[in-house]
C-alpha cells in the first residue's frame, strides 16, 4: 500500500482509491460504473460535465451517418464496451483521438481523412479502448507526479460545468495531453488494440501502417511546424511501428481491412475533410495524404481537385504546371467539382490566356449558378480578348 500525502481533495481522493483497491485495479468490464460516492465517481462527474460542453460545441461534426459509422467500428471492436462509450467526431483537421475514463470518445476529422481503411481507424480506436479498459488514466493519476494532471481533469470539468461554457474544445489539445501515458501503458494499449482488431477480423498489419504513414507525413514537414497532436502524447512511433509489424506477422486466419466500405462511408464528407486539411496550409504534408488517397481512389474528383489546389496555393516553381495537370484531369472525371473550373480559370488568367479563362469561368457558373462568388468570377470574363 502506498502512502500518498493527502494534499487537497484530489490527492486524498486518489489515495483513498488506491487504499480501497489495494493498489491493484481490475480492468473495466461491460457496464462499469464507479462506486457511488467514490472518488473515481467524482472524477467521472467532472468528466461528464466536460462532456456536456463537448456536446454543445460548434466544432462537433453532427452528420449521423458518420458518427454512427465510427461508433459501429468501436462496437465491432469491443462489443462489451459498446454500451458504455459515446462517440464525438470533432471538426479539427489534425490526427487525434481520445477516450476519457467515463467513456467519452473523441475522434478528430483529421484522423478520418488519414485512415486508408476501416482497419486503420480500428487501430486507433482499439488503442484508445485499450487505455480505457486498462484504466490507464486513473492509474496515472495515482502516480504522485501526475496528481496535478488529475487536478486539471477536474478543472476542465469545472470549466464545462456551467453548461458548455465556450472553451472546452479549445482545450482539446490540453485534454489530450492530460492523458500522456508512459511507454508501458502505450505498449499495453497497442497490445489490447491489436487483440481487439484480430478478434474483429481486421488485418493487424494495418496498425503498423497507421504509424508508418504518420512518420512519412511528419518527415515532410519542417521541424517547427510539427504542432501538437497525437505525437505530443504518443512519442516513439518508429519503434512502435516496428513492434506492431512484428506482432502482426503472427496473425492467423482471414482478415479484411474493409477499405471499400470505409471509403464509401466517408464519401459524403470527403470534400469537407480535404477543404479543412488545405486550410491548414501545410501543403507538403497534405500532398502526402492526398497522394495516398489518390492511390486508393484514382478516379475521385475531389481528391484530384484538392491535389491541384494544394499545388496552386503552394505556388512554388513548377506548381502551376502541376496544378494545371491535376485540375485538368479532375475536370474530366464524371463527378467533377464546379470549383475545378474556377481554379483552372485562375491559372489561365495568371498565364494571360484569357480565352481559356473565359471558357473555364463560364463552365464554372454553368455548373454552380448559385456559387457565392458568381458575381466576382463573372467579372473576369472579358470578351474580345
Amino acid at each position: 500500500m502506498r502512502r500518498i500525502p493527502r494534499r487537497g481533495f484530489l490527492a486524498g481522493a486518489l489515495a483513498g482509491c488506491a487504499d480501497a483497491a489495494t493498489g491493484a485495479m481490475t480492468p473495466v468490464g461491460a457496464g462499469y460504473r464507479p462506486e457511488a460516492g467514490s472518488d473515481e465517481a467524482e472524477l467521472w462527474r467532472a468528466l461528464d460535465r466536460m462532456e456536456e460542453g463537448t456536446r454543445q460545441s460548434r466544432f462537433l461534426l453532427r452528420e449521423p451517418a458518420i458518427v454512427d459509422y465510427v461508433r459501429d467500428v468501436a462496437c465491432r471492436l469491443a462489443p462489451e464496451q459498446c454500451g458504455d462509450l459515446r462517440v464525438y467526431v470533432v471538426r479539427t483537421a489534425q490526427f487525434n483521438a481520445s477516450m476519457a475514463p467515463n467513456g467519452m470518445m473523441q475522434v478528430w476529422t483529421g484522423l478520418l481523412l488519414r485512415c486508408e481503411n476501416e482497419a486503420q481507424l480500428a487501430t486507433v480506436i482499439g488503442h484508445e479502448i485499450g487505455h480505457y479498459i486498462e484504466r490507464h488514466s486513473l492509474k496515472g493519476m495515482l502516480d504522485r507526479r501526475n496528481k496535478a494532471t488529475a487536478g486539471m481533469i477536474l478543472s476542465l470539468g469545472l470549466g464545462a460545468a456551467g453548461g458548455g461554457l465556450g472553451s472546452e474544445l479549445a482545450q482539446l489539445a490540453g485534454y489530450a495531453s492530460m492523458f500522456s501515458f508512459n511507454r508501458d501503458q502505450e505498449r499495453e494499449a497497442d497490445a489490447v488494440g491489436l487483440g481487439l482488431m484480430e478478434r474483429a477480423g481486421y488485418p493487424t498489419i494495418e496498425a503498423a501502417k497507421v504509424w508508418e504513414n504518420l512518420i512519412a507525413e511528419n518527415k515532410a514537414m519542417p521541424q517547427r511546424e510539427r504542432g501538437p497532436g497525437f505525437f505530443a502524447t504518443h512519442p516513439a512511433q518508429e519503434e512502435r511501428a516496428e513492434t506492431l509489424r512484428r506482432q502482426a506477422a503472427q496473425q492467423a486466419g482471414p482478415a479484411d481491412a474493409r477499405q471499400g466500405e470505409y471509403l464509401a462511408r466517408l464519401r459524403p464528407i470527403r470534400r469537407l475533410l480535404l477543404q479543412d486539411e488545405l486550410a491548414l496550409r501545410q501543403f507538403d504534408r497534405s500532398l502526402i495524404v492526398l497522394g495516398r488517397l489518390a492511390e486508393a481512389l484514382p478516379e475521385d474528383a475531389a481528391t484530384q481537385h484538392f491535389t491541384g489546389e494544394a499545388y496552386r496555393l503552394r505556388d512554388q516553381p513548377g506548381d502551376a504546371d502541376r496544378a494545371l495537370g491535376m485540375l485538368g484531369r479532375a475536370a474530366r472525371l464524371p463527378d467533377a467539382l464546379a470549383e475545378t473550373q474556377r481554379s483552372l480559370g485562375m491559372i489561365h488568367l495568371a498565364r494571360r490566356d484569357q480565352r481559356a479563362a473565359n471558357a473555364a469561368f463560364r463552365r464554372y457558373i454553368e455548373l454552380a449558378p448559385a456559387a457565392q462568388d458568381r458575381l466576382l468570377i463573372q467579372s473576369f470574363i472579358r470578351e474580345g480578348a
Binding site: 460545441s57 466544432f59 479549445a170 495568371a350 457565392q372 462568388d373 458575381l375 466576382l376 468570377i377 473576369f380
Partner: protein, 193 residues
C-alpha cells in the same frame, strides 16, 4: 525568468504602447495609400503593433465585440499579420503583388481562417465593388473562433500598384455585428486610394 518576461511584455502592452484615441469624423490616413472618413463611435488603438504603420485597428465596444482592421497596403511577400511578418510568418498566406481580385479575396479569407485557428469559416456573397474608386471586392463571412462565439464579418478591398488595400470587420452575431454595421458600411464606402 519566463514569468518576468511575460510580465514585462504585458506591462508594455497594458501601460506603455497601447492606448485608444478618438476618431473624428474626418478623413483618416491609413498609411500613405488609403484614407477613410472616421466614425466617432469607433476608437483607434495607438502604438506600434508590429512594425507596419499602415495597419490600424479600430473598435467601438472592445476587440472581442467589434474589430475593424484597416490596411493601407499589404505588399508582395507580406501577410495579414504585421507581427507574423516580423517573426512568425509560418503557414500564413503570403500576398502576391500580381493577385487578381478573386485571389486577393481568397488570400484574405484563408488568412482570417488561419489566424483564427478554425475550420469554421464560410464566405458569402463574394462580389466586385468599387473600393476607393478602384475595382475592388467585397464579401461577408461567418466564423467561429475557439471561444465558440459565432461572429459575422465583412471584408472589402482593392489591389492597386501591386498592393492590397483592405478593410475587414467582425463582431459576434448576437447584438454587436448589426449594432456597428451601418458605421462600418459608411467607412468602407468612404475609402479613397
Amino acid at each position: 525568468m519566463k514569468a518576468i518576461r511575460a510580465a514585462i511584455l504585458s506591462l508594455g502592452l497594458l501601460a506603455g504602447c497601447t492606448a485608444y484615441e478618438a476618431i473624428p469624423g474626418q478623413p483618416q490616413a491609413i498609411g500613405n495609400g488609403l484614407s477613410v472618413v472616421g466614425e466617432p463611435e469607433f476608437n483607434r488603438r495607438t502604438g506600434a503593433i508590429g512594425r507596419r504603420a499602415e495597419f490600424q485597428q479600430w473598435t467601438a465596444d472592445g476587440f472581442e465585440l467589434n474589430a475593424l482592421h484597416l490596411y493601407g497596403g499589404i505588399g508582395e511577400g507580406e501577410t495579414l499579420s504585421p507581427v507574423a511578418d516580423r517573426d512568425n510568418r509560418r503557414e500564413l498566406p503570403v500576398f502576391r503583388a500580381n493577385s487578381n481580385l478573386a485571389e486577393a479575396a481568397e488570400f484574405v479569407q484563408a488568412s482570417i481562417a488561419k489566424l483564427g485557428g478554425t475550420a469554421l469559416i464560410e464566405a458569402r456573397d463574394i462580389r466586385p465593388i468599387a473600393f476607393g474608386g478602384r475595382d475592388g471586392f467585397r464579401f461577408e463571412f461567418r466564423i467561429t473562433l475557439k471561444d465558440e462565439v459565432e461572429r459575422d464579418g465583412i471584408a472589402a478591398g482593392a489591389v492597386a500598384s501591386g498592393r492590397l488595400y483592405l478593410i475587414f470587420y467582425h463582431a459576434p452575431r448576437q447584438h454587436y455585428f448589426e449594432r456597428r454595421k451601418p458605421a462600418v458600411e459608411r467607412i468602407i464606402a468612404s475609402a479613397r486610394l
